[in-house]
């Protein structure tokens, strides 16, 4: 037990304990954070905080697309690539997997078409997403530092490739707290059958206090396990049990005064009792209309899993949750957009599971007037190569990829940046992950230079601008 009697009350630990007072006690911190009485002003808490700069968005929905969606097969048409299909590329490309290098150009198996009034390009596999062309802000000039999924996912979510730093969601809740004190600030919804590649790393608090870490919610039934007794009990049984428990726990605490953990444990039971009453219906979608169910594809087994997570994301955002992070279906794999052997087959396995619900979410947010203040991010950790792996598939490409943004002051119907003639390298208006993070923070009213946390004597920042040279990409946003 790390009680304060044992060690220097490290700032971090102390403040973690001091995070929430009994008065303002909230379900928020309930799952992740440790709760203890306030012994001094808590610097770290989840109360809503106004950003210093004017904010264009209040909340974020990250639709994480693990595995690296292929830009030249989905978003970034390359006629030159199609024309020179089968020829050896003049530029030697950087590959990831060994033994399958060919440097032979591979045309996309899909047809592209222009969509919306803005004429944004989309290939066939994502018709519903394409139908919202006038809502999306498409960034085609993304690039990142690492060519392997694991590291690149860590970069996408934390800014650097070595695990252990706080994620985007953690930084956001650290900076802004959350509107609804009865729900966690940062909620993660994943496929119940598996973690995506990297697992819980992708929503960790890193060295930020634990209350800023993501909380996993289940997407069916109760939001967390064991919210109700597994075996039936007559009404009132638990209430009396809890009363005796509180008495015994207080006795124990009185024999060990000052042990914050023991105090926290008493409060935990009070919170647990409240949660059992209040948190049950957060995920109850039965009162949503049938047209809403259809909008998210809940009526179709192919889309129902991902669709439910998208619908829950809207409900949670609507309830004032700050950051919702959705992970993709676990079929065909933990990184379902990975596609080394056959672009067409692989994309056709994953795209139909996600296309309709992703579009449904944006439409629904728009209808309800929530899109203006919510940033929706649809993207993966890097892109794919214009050359084949002696197959019909493509290897990893950290030099170029495309992401989609919607809402939150991002320019709708706008395509930004460009890759070379083959989609290998971002060449025009390049956007690094750090630039992307800086821009997201800016939309939330935060200056990425200012948002800092002292760790091991250094002021750490999400973007680490001194090293990365991160800059806000103002041309992506309105105003």
């Amino acid at each position: 037990m790390h009680s304060l009697s044992l060690q220097q009350p490290s700032r971090r630990r102390w403040l973690r304990h001091a995070g929430l007072g009994i008065g303002g006690l909230a379900l928020t911190s309930l799952l992740q954070a440790e709760i203890a009485p306030v012994h001094g002003a808590g610097q770290f808490n989840l109360r809503p905080k106004a950003p210093r700069l004017p904010a264009r968005a209040k909340s974020v929905i990250l639709l994480m697309q693990n595995g690296a969606p292929s830009q030249m097969d989905l978003f970034d048409p390359k006629p030159e690539l199609t024309k020179r299909d089968g020829q050896v590329h003049s530029e030697k490309v950087e590959t990831f997997q060994q033994g399958s290098e060919s440097n032979t150009l591979l045309a996309t198996p899909f047809r592209f078409r222009k969509h919306g009034e803005c004429g944004m390009d989309f290939a066939e596999p994502l018709p519903h997403i394409a139908s919202l062309a006038d809502q999306w802000c498409m960034v085609r000039s993304m690039h990142t530092d690492h060519n392997n999924h694991t590291e690149a996912m860590v970069i996408f979510t934390t800014g650097k490739f070595l695990p252990g730093r706080p994620t985007l969601g953690a930084w956001t809740t650290y900076a802004l707290g959350t509107e609804n004190q009865n729900l966690p600030a940062y909620i993660v919804l994943r496929d119940p059958n598996a973690y995506s590649t990297n697992g819980t790393q992708l929503w960790q608090n890193g060295w930020l206090p634990a209350l800023y870490g993501g909380t996993e919610f289940r997407s069916t039934g109760d939001p967390v396990l064991n919210l109700r007794p597994a075996l039936p009990q007559p009404a009132g049984v638990q209430r009396d049990n809890l009363r005796l428990l509180a008495e015994l726990n207080r006795n124990y605490l009185s024999r060990h005064p000052g042990e914050l953990e023991l105090e926290a444990r008493i409060i935990n039971y009070e919170v647990a009792a409240r949660m059992q009453l209040e948190a049950g219906d957060v995920l109850d979608v039965s009162r949503e209309s049938s047209s809403t169910h259809a909008l998210y594809g809940l009526d179709n087994p192919v889309t129902a899993g991902y669709g439910m997570r998208c619908l829950l994301a809207r409900r949670l955002i609507e309830s004032g949750v700050r950051f919702v992070q959705i992970h993709p279906p676990a079929k065909p794999s933990n990184q379902p957009w990975d596609s080394h052997s056959d672009s067409k087959l692989d994309i056709e396995k994953i795209a139909p599971q996600e296309d309709l619900p992703s579009a449904g979410l944006v439409k629904d947010l728009k209808q309800r007037g929530l899109l203006d203040e919510t940033i929706v991010i649809w993207g993966g950790e890097f892109g794919r190569l214009p050359v084949s792996q002696r197959t019909k598939g493509r290897d990893h490409n950290r030099n170029a990829f495309t992401i989609l943004l919607a809402g939150g002051g991002f320019k709708p119907g706008f395509t930004y940046g460009a890759t070379d003639d083959f989609g290998y390298r971002s060449v025009e208006d390049r956007v690094s992950i750090a630039d992307f993070h800086a821009t997201l923070l800016r939309q939330l009213g935060l200056d990425h230079h200012e948002l800092a946390y002292q760790h091991l004597g250094r002021d750490e920042r999400l973007t680490d601008p001194e090293v990365t040279g991160a800059q806000v990409v103002t041309r992506l946003t309105t105003d």
Partner: protein
């Protein structure tokens, strides 16, 4: 050899194109960079790159901008920066003007050859710096030294040496140890710490009634001799090695038993438990694990020899890294190197308390570990894990007799190993020889001098590593002894004498009691590196035997005051996840105490929980076995374990978290396992106690908490049982008395007193 190294140093410096910085000369990061950041980088830096120029790092100066490099190492005085600054051309007139002293600093720096910061991390791929004797003077890297025990403090209590160290420090702030813990408290503490099971009421009674002076010593002897000792302390070691029976990352809830599961890995767990029970000297223990295959010619040995096979099983120690290569698309150079990197990280983290991860890509920023040293260590493992001629995990497995062993052994002659620039396997730098961390050797020569004793077709590299680590006179052994002794302290007292038990480097904490740590480490080494005598010594101290309830005398109980007085009482510690489940099983009377054997199956359920059902088990009662025998997945732990900080075994873990989250309360209140065990517990009490309610309450308290209820508690419990009896009666339930008693049992499981050891 020494000369060779010196040459190399010079060569390295030539490559850097700069002379080494002398202390009196301006250094880039310390002296020059702050000037550039404050005066130049507004226009030539992060926000703006006028003239294409960014002056934030030395490397960027060398790269330059539209007019070419800003810094020319061959002709410093012609460098752009020199000319512009010395001529006062830049910065342009205004508020950013440089002072004469600042200009002088830049001038002197350029004229000295613009030396980089000695540990400039941007110079990755090169040594950057070498290890000096001064680096070896850091407390943790020194050889063990004999320290004297402080004099007896004059109090009337008998004091062991440990007590004298601790009391001496407490006395400085006017404190002393708390009074001794009550016998009932002490037996619960000792039993949970040594075997991980709460004492039975009869055991408590016997101990409390035993007034002989050696009663406690005999208790420790009995517990240390128990076969359950290895289950408790073996689990600590399993954490430290990252024990898992899964090859890959274990992201999927459903387990792929064909490719991803190591069906014989439980034999390693068995090996660990037995080694602890036999109190194998630690030096022998790790030598077997690092190089059991190199201790004899196993290829030509009888495949049924238990002794040979035990040594091969021990090497499973090196099979814990995530190895994705069993799945063909993931069999890439990258994932192969990942196995090597994780193996080095685990060996260094577990045995030496050092995080070497930084040195994968560049020389360590804080600790004197050049990148070269990291790859020297890595080269010790490349004969077994050769990334060029990779052997698939299943093909490494041996079947000897009918025993499946997930062993590690050299798969061929040692390959050339290269330093990887930026840790990137596609950017091999120069070749490195296998060797050790220079800072833990007396000199450079020792760092690459391997004591090779090849037996059979093997390089002997790993055996040489084991010899280096276990040379009791050496620096490595000294650090290893400190790290291990500290971890034992941490397991008993919640926090180590070095609180950062996983980091003994410059970024880690300093010991709160340096001399005590040094003394313990020395004693441990001198008495044969055995755990049981060390535990007997630690647990025999008044520090361990003191109460946890005393307020430190003479001090306010404000937490900040308590923090100043560590060890002025026994800390209260939450039980680890496995012990919480085991304690519930023990109370319920259901526990199957069988020792050893294959793992107990766990199943991830569609609702997201993970359960232990009676399906697919060695025997139907297997699901009541101790938690150490559960299928060891990297994640997907049975829910009761998961919420109580069961560590994720994607990595190894030398210090468990002890969180206080609401999910723990919800689980203890509502989880099926907990509710069913409470029910079993009440049946047991119902049958073992007399019919009077107070007898039942008394027995329930004795079993769960190891004590009798106070009069007030007794009354409250009686009221609860009465109320719940009425309630069940009103609901028309059967067995109302037992059900009402089950409510009390359930409450007891939920108490802090049950979940903590004081």
């Amino acid at each position: 050899m020494l000369r060779f190294c010196t040459c190399f140093l010079l060569l390295g410096l030539l490559l850097l194109g700069a002379a080494p910085a002398r202390p009196d000369e301006p250094q880039f990061a310390r002296d020059v960079k702050p000037i550039l950041i404050a005066h130049c980088c507004k226009c030539h830096g992060l926000e703006a790159r006028q003239a294409g120029l960014d002056l934030r790092t030395r490397r960027l100066l060398l790269r330059g901008g539209d007019q070419g490099p800003a810094l020319d190492l061959n002709n410093g005085k012609m460098s752009l920066i020199y000319r512009q600054v010395v001529s006062r051309n830049m910065p342009p007139d205004g508020e950013l003007d440089l002072t004469t002293a600042q200009i002088e600093t830049i001038r002197r720096w350029v004229e000295a050859g613009a030396p980089p910061q000695q540990t400039d991390a941007t110079e990755s791929g090169r040594d950057g710096f070498l290890v000096s004797d001064r680096d070896r003077q850091f407390w943790a890297f020194q050889k063990l030294r004999r320290v004297g025990v402080p004099p007896i403090d004059g109090t009337d209590r008998p004091a062991t040496s440990i007590d004298r160290f601790v009391s001496a420090k407490l006395a400085k702030v006017g404190l002393r140890l708390a009074h001794p813990a009550a016998p009932a408290t002490l037996i619960r503490r000792a039993q949970l710490d040594l075997v991980g099971l709460p004492p039975e009421p009869t055991e408590i009674e016997r101990f409390v009634g035993d007034r002989s002076p050696d009663a406690y010593q005999r208790l420790l002897d009995r517990l240390l001799a128990s076969p359950h000792f290895g289950e408790r302390w073996g689990r600590h070691w399993m954490d430290a090695v990252g024990y898992s029976e899964i090859r890959g990352t274990d992201f999927d809830a459903a387990l792929n038993r064909n490719g991803d599961y190591m069906s014989g890995m439980w034999r390693y767990r068995q090996y660990v438990i037995e080694s602890h029970n036999r109190d194998k000297p630690f030096t022998r223990f790790i030598t077997e694990q690092l190089a059991g295959d190199e201790l004899l010619d196993w290829r030509n040995a009888d495949p049924h020899s238990e002794r040979v096979n035990e040594l091969l099983v021990a090497t499973s120690f090196l099979r814990m890294a995530v190895d994705l290569t069993w799945d063909p698309p993931d069999n890439t150079a990258f994932t192969r190197f990942r196995v090597l990197h994780q193996t080095v990280a685990t060996v260094a983290g577990n045995l030496l308390g050092l995080s070497l991860k930084c040195a994968r890509c560049h020389s360590h920023k804080f600790d004197p570990v050049p990148q070269r040293d990291y790859y020297r260590m890595l080269a010790l493992f490349t004969p077994a894990y050769n990334p060029q001629t990779w052997v698939l995990p299943a093909d490494r497995d041996l079947t000897r007799g009918n025993v499946k062993i997930h062993a590690v052994y050299d798969v061929g002659p040692p390959p050339e190993t290269y330093l990887l620039r930026r840790g990137d396997h596609t950017q091999p730098g120069r070749a490195v020889q296998p060797g050790f961390l220079s800072v833990l050797c007396d000199d450079e020569q020792q760092a690459t001098q391997l004591t090779l004793e090849p037996i059979g077709a093997t390089s002997g590299h790993r055996l040489a590593l084991a010899r280096w680590l276990t040379d009791s006179e050496g620096r490595a052994a000294a650090l290893m002894a400190r790290v291990q002794v500290n971890r034992v302290w941490q397991h008993l007292f919640g926090v180590g004498l070095v609180s950062s038990s996983d980091n003994f480097g410059h970024q880690g904490a300093r010991p709160t009691h340096p001399n005590l740590l040094e003394w313990l480490a020395t004693e441990w080494v001198n008495t044969g590196w055995r755990l049981k005598p060390l535990l007997r010594r630690l647990m025999g101290s008044a520090v361990y035997r003191q109460a946890s309830t005393d307020a430190p005398s003479g001090r306010d109980r404000h937490p900040a005051a308590v923090a100043d007085a560590p060890l002025a009482r026994m800390p209260v510690r939450r039980l680890p996840s496995e012990i919480i489940r085991d304690a519930m099983l023990a109370c319920s009377g259901r526990m199957d105490r069988q020792i050893g054997g294959p793992s107990i199956n766990t199943e991830a359920q569609p609702d997201g929980s993970v359960r232990i059902t009676s399906d697919n088990q060695p025997t139907p009662g297997s699901r009541w076995r101790r938690s150490v025998y559960l299928l060891a997945r990297r994640r997907w732990f049975p829910t009761v374990l998961g919420v109580f900080d069961q560590p994720n075994m994607g990595d190894h873990c030398t210090r468990r978290e002890s969180s206080t989250i609401v999910l723990q309360a919800l689980t203890m209140l509502n989880d099926q396992f907990v509710m069913e065990r409470a029910d079993d517990f009440s049946r047991r009490v119902f049958h073992e106690a007399g019919p009077a309610t107070e007898d039942r309450i008394g027995l329930a308290f004795a079993i769960a908490l190891g004590r009798a209820p106070s009069a007030r508690e007794l009354e409250s419990c009686r009221q609860l049982i009465a109320r719940q009896t009425d309630r069940f009666q009103a609901a028309g339930a059967a067995h109302v008395d037992q059900k009402a008693l089950a409510c009390l049992c359930h409450v007891l499981f939920n108490t802090s007193e049950f979940l903590y050891v004081e």
